[in-house]
Symmetry: C2
Subunit: 149 residues, 2 copies
Amino acid sequence: MVHIPSRSMSKPDGQPVGQVAQMLRAAGLRPTRQRMALAKILFSGGNRHVSAESLRDEAVDARVPVSLATIYNTLHQFTTAGLLREVAVDAARTYFDTNLSNHHHFYNEGSAGVCDIPTDGLVIENMPEPPEGTEIVRVDVVVRVRPKS
Amino acid sequence: MVHIPSRSMSKPDGQPVGQVAQMLRAAGLRPTRQRMALAKILFSGGNRHVSAESLRDEAVDARVPVSLATIYNTLHQFTTAGLLREVAVDAARTYFDTNLSNHHHFYNEGSAGVCDIPTDGLVIENMPEPPEGTEIVRVDVVVRVRPKS
DNA sequence: CTGTGTGCAAACTCTTTGCATAAGT
DNA sequence: ACTTATGCAAAGAGTTTGCACACAG
């Protein structure tokens, strides 16, 4: 048996050293199997918008054994760690967005799908002062669309 | 016993003739006790933002016997009838808004309170084209604020 | 009277939690 | 070894539904 080195393999002492593992470490999260797997699903494509359930489905497809509770935990941990952003478009489901930059969303009420609006595609002017004693955290714009009839 | 006429009393045949009753009739909804009571709570002040639970609390305060299921039914019926508008600011709770005009919202993440941003206080420019095969239903802007620390 | 609305309680969905087991360092 | 994460199942919140009774027309 010959040892074949690889970016995503473990060091002799067993510590994973891949990019994903380092991203998790940097965020203060231990690179466990489930977190690594979910992080790979989430961050190895372009920008993604997932719900807990859609991510679970992807994990199942990828043969990753992970419970729904862990999906929720992980999504919130990633959000707290600044790796994901929560998007409130529909009261029925919570969506998470891998795109952390300042941008907004289309929400298709027919398919319940979310997609990005590029930052430069929309400008808000004449922003009002927030109520006294409060400060602005973020401005979310949701452009609701539906299939043309 | 003397008959004292009033705008909100019933006609001899028992049909309520108040403004609220007529609003409901116009919307195709029978002016029942509960719907009348909830409509009065909702539409006899300025613009309101309610959740099912806050409306139930108000109904209890107003000595209106109404079940939570009826609150939900009524809110959705009013929304479908175009008397209310649903506002998606927080995935945890559904808010309904009596202000039907084109406007946006402040959402206080600390108190979970919603309030209006006047239409003229915010302008969106350079609106992008919606995805192919879809048309824009509405644009919602939520300015998330939190108590100043 | 006839049909619609309401209340109640139970069902349902999405999400969170408690605790024993498994995995990471 | 010691600590933290995971899985499972059960609880929890908010919302919806089914059915018998009550009310509006």
